[in-house]
Subunit: 437 residues, 4 copies
């Protein structure tokens, strides 16, 4: 997480002030429940809110840090500072709880906050993809497998494909959000020995979480592993779309281009350059987010009822993965929204192979005319290879091929070379993806 | 995937004969649909089933390999061999389809088959965990955080915790199974130019899959990334439980032990050894499965409408990840089922720290008796540190501490040292995890 | 490791018969040393060689497996089978040693054998790259940054670049080979309590290894982590070159092409296709090898004097990483050796941007003629952007630009548009890389 | 990289001011060389140093950021700001160079600076390990394989083992440092078209680097991949030692303990806790550093002569990996230096298994007394298993075993139970590791 690749909305989640605020809410809600079941005085709970419900400022954070420098324990430092505001009633705060109750529940609140932003990001990406998909639905372009011209598709189909992929990612993220939206207030080693389970239920409800069915002082880390793994999958989809755009922008293809603002410089040495730097950047950011998946999985196997090895990992990947992915999704949405498409280049590339893209249709026509599949394949390939090697026109070659001509008259052959043949089901696909066409 | 860590049921899925069988079914079902919509003769579809529906044997696989050696194309080799059995009607097979239609749909069938076995494996693990959890529900044992004695839990709670974790894994795997249970029969670059979408719908229904909303010659690989990532999470949970058992078996703890069969040798040099080799093995297998997550994610960003870089990865991790995880889950279930628990050792360890584990309860009692949290903490820690350093008895020290004694009478202090205090909510937790206690 | 991506020479290293042979040599050499220092009778050592030095066959391997099924211990099974051949003297075999002495030393022998093959593979790649580099040294082609035309380079330079990269990889692999070329015969927990250090020295010398300075029953796994990490770096270079070729082959570029054999089929559906399937395959294989780096690193932190979690990992990644990389390097060498280069396409692409590639030279000329760098940049960019947008001729535009014309006369401008300007240091670079030009 | 896990010395390397300073030096040294070979006026080069050699301050960094916000190009922003100080001579700065010349050479300077700190860190770790190794050389303790008591070692041997491991890491890091200590000043696409190779040689010499033999606008990223992979291996060794200490500190073992300062709090809830939080933290930090290895490897395959996908990755992992590892190594050194060892606990654990640890020696004595290895193993194991199950005394059982007694008289048996037998080669090992004993 570096400022260059960060958006304020997401970084705020990871600032100390947000963390301390969540800690306070956990403690104060817990006090309410403790008061309700008669463990602490109701007045004390009220006073804790009254005196404690004040904003966390950098100054307060600094004070907490100062205390932690001595105690070497962050939650105790937090409680000590809080006591300075609350006074004697502070002795009822954190009653029966253990640090992990606060830390783990807080982390899950932060991750759900982050997930909500990421879901909104995905919506922005989805909206951009949908808009471009419909706008470009009928712009026929070359489809490529292995980087080699294959058969025609449309530019809109490309965007529809990514829309479907990001829809899946949205679904996965929602599911991953559920996975980490739990609350544990179960005390040391998770037995509720010193805290009634009703406290957990109350705090969970207040924070929009579900009680963790069984916690062992910590909320189990398979939840977080699944969460970060899901971010890794989404990052891989970001890379997928970024690489598509990088390919489309390369000089020899140049069917599309990232928006290049006036005043922008492509290269310090070569003033003529217009580089797909945003999507290249996204490719790198995807690697970063993916690199956090394995550490998150290595965090699962904590020792016995807990160890704290996960903590340093999460202090880094918690912010890093969410902030970086948030930035990446927004950058991606911007790229899609403003992507410049060059229809002339699209058309030019489409015709580059002199009709070779119709080879399958000719193959099928030959088999339907009674030629064996093997013979049909050989006949078509024989002529196709000449196009590659001699830049000949495919249709002319086929007409001149006696074996082919014996099966398909020239007129029929000509009719096979028709782009509309390839786009006739675009609406079907759009309906599947968007529910409309 | 090596025989040592494989079970036949899972390896069979990845044998050529199963693959070719699935390919045949895809092609033959497609022919039915093509016949139904009038593209090929109904009689031809019938004959294709009649003549083609014969078992794939190693001999047939060898024949296909032979053809592939020449054509360098596996699906064409398959079709050529099939034609040797079907005769002239074979020209209707694969009509309008592309290799990826067959390969990708087949891979997804294999992955759903594998997922079904893994789900059954998880059920075996869950059953074993549930059985042991109830059996050991009330065996009080030491709970440990940071490897240090904390407060009592029960052995049954440990198993309940893992049960909840594996329940989550089961849910995740079901969801991952849905993610890869799709079928694509959309032809080159996925436009349905040469094949009617109804064919895809028919084949999907017959194979228990859903049609892929939009495929670009390939089924999008974010689906597979999510699938393998989920296997990585499950593997991490395997490691989690394995490490718990390794800890419990270490000589100084020895609360539990992997079953050690008569005739088994622990060490070639040291005849006295009884080593937790199965769970150590599981720790390693988890690393292996996890190592396949990133390659699967790197597969997502295929170029344009497809490239084939994913193929070599999947030829290895498809079998390797599923076979290894299947083996690991079964080994794990066996370890849990037969784990030997030593209640005497459990009890001995529980008492090792001379009552220190009640430190929190004393802390709470002091605060409730009116001492500030800070002072209470200091009082308890002061006496606790003496126990660590001088192996003194904690209760005796507390009684002798004038500040403590001033707040809590000796009798009350003694009553605080009660294990039942820590187990009173075990039933609550069991009900949350198992729905019963 | 699957047959499809394996070469026999490398797979042989990992067959049981090679492993057992190495085990025998370790044991027999150890007996020689034990006899030499008087621990066992010299005659016994002689007899062990005489009766034991017989080939390991699949039949013997099967017998060993059979014994292991009972003892659940592979080295004991091996020793038991060996005793069936050697008779009573077998009681002197393995004296004072522990299984790990045999297993770990053997693994390192296998890894050095594998490293030797990989070094030879790298030599084949290097030779191919050098040959093509010199052959294509002067074929001027477009250099591209960000996929965008930048300035001219030569095809030979591309190969020289990869040659330098693979030279580095060769050096790294040699260094990694040294890292794992050690021998440990130090007995249980590595104290030499039951075996004299001179035995280790003797066996090490015989097997071409160095004695491990200190082993703790196992040879420390940081050595193996470094080894597999190095394979991961080499795999990444394979991917690097593979992706370069995939780019050069894409239809719109098509400056080079993998050799396409007669009879080969590019696509079952589209007979016209010629796909870079080998380099796509290499891209995937690189992911696989890279996926083994983290598991190898996770193996380092074994518990205390050893645990066996590394073993299952190494049983898989030992063969998988070396066999896959060996296959990949050979495939890569073949691709480079036979790569078809199309000079006409190279030339055509070079001219595609109407002279824009000379923009930097014009920029420099303007600054040298006294214009500020900022103004020069603006002047050049202003004209360059017109070329992008209007496909105009860059030189013509510059001549017509009054500000530019005021600084550089038309004649001089024309002279700046000279490819030789860009290739004048090719020989310098070749001398640096190859020691000759 | 977060403040909590950072040391100022290392973070300074990654601050903008250090980066800009290095950029300036590269540019200014290049000007010297350009002046020397007559491309620019000698006076200009002198003035560039005179006016430009002023400290980079946060204020200057802010000004550069401001310019970058408009130009969207960091090097151009830097040059523009520099021009504000240098005046008209600034037009000679960056002549013939491309941004990557500056950026990549700078990154390598930063990485060598970081490597130098890390080498010093390793020295601190090595010193601590050596000191403790000698101090504890003769403290006999239990050696454990699989977490199970095996045979005696000494505490000093443990530290010697890690010393050898960190010696190897030091060697690897030196080698990795060499790998990234290169300088590229080769201009756009690396052809030296606009810049004489002598400039590169001059700048390299001034900065303590070697000229990159062939660069393609960028310094090839296999160098960086190897560098970060090496950091990953070192991090794994950190984890290795951390886990050893965590095991030694667990309550049931407690042979050693991290230093616990007065005023420190182990747990907010349980005042009695003394947790190995530093080594747990190190375990997590190791995961983080390791997570950056694969992204660095994915950076290798840049497109054609360069793309910029590596940049975002390196902006994050450059600082993160070096800062985190630097912090971890220093924390580790501190833990080792201050580690509290408890000799009584060491001795107690050593005797825990009632002499079982001598089982191998008895086994060998039996074989030397003429019993077959198989029978000896069974005799020893038979008695050993009784010790496990009935907590009997191993020596007594052996004496009472008629088969054993028939081979070894009671007196001789007693003599076998001697710890010095296990430590007789400690000096040999120390000499191998430290060159002295």
């Amino acid at each position: 997480m570096i400022p260059r690749y960060s958006r304020a909305e997401m970084t705020k989640i990871w600032e100390p002030e947000n963390r301390f605020r969540i800690w306070f809410e956990i403690e104060a809600h817990a006090c309410d429940a403790l008061a309700e079941i008669g463990v602490i005085p109701k007045d004390s709970a009220r006073i804790i809110w009254e005196k404690g419900d004040i904003p966390y400022t950098p100054a307060r954070s600094a004070r907490i840090d100062e205390i932690e420098a001595e105690t070497k324990h962050d939650v105790i430092a937090f409680l000590t500072e809080l006591a300075e505001h609350i006074g004697p009633e502070s002795r009822f705060v954190h009653q029966g709880m253990t640090s992990s109750d606060v830390l783990d529940t807080c982390l899950n609140v932060q991750l759900t906050q982050a997930a909500d932003i990421l879901l909104a990001d995905l919506d922005r990406v989805l909206n951009a993809l949908e808009k471009r998909a419909f706008e470009l639905k009928d712009v026929v372009c070359m489809g490529r497998s292995h980087g080699i011209h294959a058969e025609p598709v449309t530019m809109g189909l490309k965007f529809a494909t990514f829309h479907a992929e990001f829809q899946r990612n949205r679904r996965r993220l929602k599911s991953a959000r559920e996975d980490i939206a739990t609350c544990a207030i179960s005390g040391a080693v998770g037995t509720f020995a010193n805290i009634d389970p009703r406290v957990e239920e109350h705090v969970a409800a207040k924070l929009g979480l579900k009680p963790e069915p069984v916690s062992t002082q910590v909320i189990p880390r398979d939840r977080h592993a699944q969460f970060f793994a899901t971010l890794g999958v989404i990052a891989s989809s970001v890379e997928h779309l970024a690489i598509e755009i990088r390919h489309l922008q390369r000089t020899e293809v140049r069917e599309a281009e990232e928006y290049f603002s006036p005043g922008q410089k492509g290269s310090s040495a070569m003033p003529h350059k217009r580089n797909p730097v945003l999507t290249e950047n996204l490719t790198g950011l995807a690697r970063i987010v993916r690199g956090m998946v394995i550490p998150a999985m290595e965090n699962v196997a904590l020792w016995h009822e807990r160890d704290i090895s996960h903590s340093s990992v999460e202090r880094m990947i918690g912010p890093d993965a969410t902030v970086t992915l948030d930035f990446a999704l927004n950058r991606l949405a911007g790229v899609v929204e403003k992507l410049v498409v060059y229809p002339e280049a699209v058309a030019k590339n489409l015709n580059q192979l002199g009709g070779l893209v119709f080879s399958q249709r000719v193959l099928l026509a030959l088999t339907q005319a009674g030629m064996s599949r093997e013979d049909s394949y050989k006949a078509v390939q024989r002529n196709a290879m000449k196009v590659w090697l001699e830049s000949a026109n495919f249709l002319d070659l086929l007409k001149a091929d006696s074996e082919v001509a014996a099966k398909i008259p020239a007129k029929t052959l000509e009719e096979l070379f028709d782009l509309r043949y390839h786009t006739k089901h675009v609406d079907t696909i759009f309906k599947r993806v968007f529910g409309r066409a």
